[in-house]
């Protein structure tokens, strides 16, 4: 609960304030107190903050590894999945939910035995605004977001995320983020060095 402090001030300065520059001294004391504080700068390329669990970074695909939700177990007979490969079912729900649908390029083919196989899942991250709606829309908990936020590239074509990379992210970074407890910061030690101890209300 934030307490608001209400101050009553008259339009004109009092006699004492006007002659002793009291407002002026108050302002100067605030900056002097800041001068004596430790800087809170994170020197970015040298030291990096761990993003919180709910951070929405580069996308990943969770792989087919036996930890599927029931919604996928019901239809996995119709799909041609491989172990440690993407568990996408090409339902196009992510594209439907996306505010900029053209950034997705999803293609699936029918295998000779009648099952469905996803052959292409490209995301053009230059158009992505990282709202996370695609992740919410995914019915099989395949599409996810990791904590990767350093995504600068030299060519525009490099900004397109393909399925191999998403599988890798899903198996490493996204999995690590998923298994964390739901706290805003990944580790308190890291955060306390920067912003001090925070009291949690729950």
């Amino acid at each position: 609960m934030i307490k608001t402090k209400k101050l009553k001030r008259s339009d004109k300065l009092g006699l004492l304030e006007a002659f002793l520059f009291l407002d002026f001294v108050k302002g100067l004391s605030i900056t002097m107190r800041n001068l004596l504080r430790k800087p809170i700068t994170t020197q970015y390329p040298k030291e990096k903050i761990t993003p919180p669990k709910r951070f929405r970074g580069k996308h990943g695909h969770f792989v087919y590894d036996g930890e599927e939700p029931p919604s996928l177990k019901a239809i996995q007979g119709f799909m041609s999945f491989e172990k440690a490969k993407s568990r996408c079912v090409a339902c196009y729900m992510c594209q439907t939910a996306c505010p900029m649908p053209t950034l997705f390029r999803i293609e699936a083919v029918q295998m000779p035995d009648g099952t469905k196989k996803v052959v292409r899942f490209d995301m053009n991250l230059l158009n992505c605004l990282f709202c996370g709606l695609c992740v919410d829309a995914c019915p099989v908990e395949c599409l996810t977001m990791s904590d990767i936020h350093e995504m600068s590239v030299y060519r525009r074509s490099d900004a397109v995320l393909n399925m191999d990379e998403m599988e890798y992210i899903g198996a490493t970074n996204a999995k690590a983020v998923r298994d964390l407890p739901d706290r805003i910061w990944r580790d308190d030690k890291e955060r306390e060095t920067l912003w001090g101890k925070i009291k949690w209300n729950f």
């Binding site: 800041n34 504080r37 430790k38």
Partner: protein, 337 residues
Amino acid sequence: MNDIIFYAIVIAVKILVVLGVTLGLGAYLTWYERKFAGHLQVRRGPTVVGPFGLLQPLADGIKLMTKAPILPRGIDTTLYYLAIMMALIPAVMLFAVVPFGPSFKFMGHEIKPIVADLNIAILYVFAMGSMAAYGTLFAGWASNSKYAFIGSLRKAALIVSYEVVLGFAALSVILLAGSMNVFDIVNAQIRSGIWYIVYQPVSFILFLFCMLAESGRVPFDIQEAEAELVTGYNVEYGGMKFGIFPLAEWYLNTLGLCVIASVLYLGGWSGPHIFGSFSGYIWLLAKSFGLLFFVIWVHWTLPRYQAKDVVEFAWKYLLPISIVNLVFTAFLVYFKV
């Protein structure tokens, strides 16, 4: 004949030392201000170039000098270049009448550590201050840009407000000392044993106000107002042509006026002899850097005035106060109270 050569060499050495010290200090004051401002805002300031970012002024200089020279269309070329000189030269010339310490004997001659020992030094300071304003005015006029022009118009409004008050504020000290020579003023303070800030606190505060206004520091930096005027009068300048303006106005001018203020009010180089023969220089430097610290501290604390408010404030309050103070001082001096 020998004497003339000796004094010529002495003056050349003085000029070289003063130029080197002031320009070097001016460059390093940028580092000092950035570091100080950073820590005031709980940041670190420059840290990357050299230990504690100490080589940052060098890196800045190289960056500014290697920039592509771009001249905006429709400028008045003569005034455009003249403005740079008009900003820099008076700011450096200000140091000609700055006494850095007491006079000493060297090879049988008495040498004063000052480039030009004028008997109207304080008047000269005011003159150079007024000349420096022309740099700002010319820059705004020659740039053919509305932001720069508004900036220089605001500077014009500022000049009419601070110049008169500055004169009246310093005049009361001149009355007390009975001289415009900086050596006489300091010696008078040393003789009486009391700094003039004790006799003239009101005048000191007025002088501080005018000092901030003349050097374009907050709360009177209305001519360069980053937020509204995209740095104002020097917006059309690039590279080192731009770098000269802050160097001259924010650093050299401020430093010069701080030294003059410590000479006028804080007793110049007077102080206990605890550093041997260098104590005079060290005391003067300590006092002027204390004032400079205060100026930069104020710069990074206060918001800025509106142009009309500065004029109103100066003419309605500061000028009457300074005149009353001056008349009061004149009475005291005349009747030898």
